[in-house]
């Protein structure tokens, strides 16, 4: 069988796989076990800890794999693949990833807390816009104040948790070629 080497080394692949499995388990548990919040587009979003950690330790491309992979795996597990819920999830995940990656590329101007808060807000706004498109009405946008307000503590919690998690990982584990 022909073998084609990729640019990713084994440690990067292992770390991304670890974060993807963590994100998938947490997102699935959140989707199945925790009651949904009565605000469209707002979940606790603890799976995003893995995405923030991925940006921190192995760069934006790895974070994209974790973010999109998590949405696909959870959609497969819950039977939502291809449906409107999947569309909402993938749109929110991509928008949040793009925002967090952009802020991360600005160096020390923003910390993981700032990435997470901005990503959380953009995630919510994107989902409400997509929901408006799905239902063919601008009414879901009326939820913006409530959803945006609720995204703030969630983003702070995720960003703080991700920073705390990375601070506990030995530095020798975090030597990656970005």
């Amino acid at each position: 069988m022909p073998y084609r080497a990729s640019g990713a080394d084994a440690r990067t692949v292992s770390m991304v796989a670890l974060l993807l499995s963590f994100a998938s388990c947490v997102a699935y548990a959140e989707a199945v076990l925790l009651p949904s919040l009565p605000i469209p587009g707002v979940r606790l979003g603890f799976a995003n800890i893995a995405v923030v950690v991925a940006i921190l330790v192995s760069g934006s491309r790895s974070a994209l794999v974790v973010s999109v992979g998590r949405v696909l795996i959870v959609a497969l597990a819950t039977g939502a693949l291809g449906g409107p819920s999947f569309l909402l999830s993938i749109a929110g995940a991509l928008a949040a990833w793009a925002t967090m990656s952009m802020l991360a590329s600005r160096g020390a101007v923003f910390s993981p807390i700032g990435w997470s808060v901005a990503g959380s807000a953009v995630h919510v706004v994107t989902q409400l816009v997509v929901a408006s498109w799905i239902v063919g009405s601008t009414a879901p946008l009326l939820m913006l104040p409530l959803s945006l307000g609720a995204s703030l503590p969630a983003g702070l919690a995720v960003g703080y948790s991700a920073g705390l998690l990375v601070s506990r990982i030995p530095e020798t584990t975090l030597v990656f070629g970005h």
């Binding site: 469209p40 700032g114 808060v117 063919g136 009414a139 946008l141 009326l142 939820m143 104040p145």
Partner: protein
Amino acid sequence: MTRGDRTIVVAILVAVLVSIPVAIAWAGTGSSVATIVGPSGETRVDLADNACYEVEGREGIVMFEVRDGCLLCVSSTCDDQVCVNQGRVSIGRPVVCAPNGVVAFAAPTRRGQEALDAVSR
């Protein structure tokens, strides 16, 4: 938190504060009538009359009920049940069932768009 982080937090707080009056103004002030929008059209619901409304969504039936002047989503075939947990429809606070493509909100419809897609019983 860096200065940049604090700027983001403040920007979001400002966005929330600005969007509250905008959303309220957008939603209107009339609360005696609600509107349910589904894949096949929209219908106005008189909140003075207790009744149940069955709306055909993309994935199944969404049931709404007018009870004591309030419109609630009482059941839906969607997986996450966000719509059922949202409680009553109020001004600036619609009930959305995205999987079924159904939304209910306390705002008047435009004239000439009152094709019924709900069955009252």
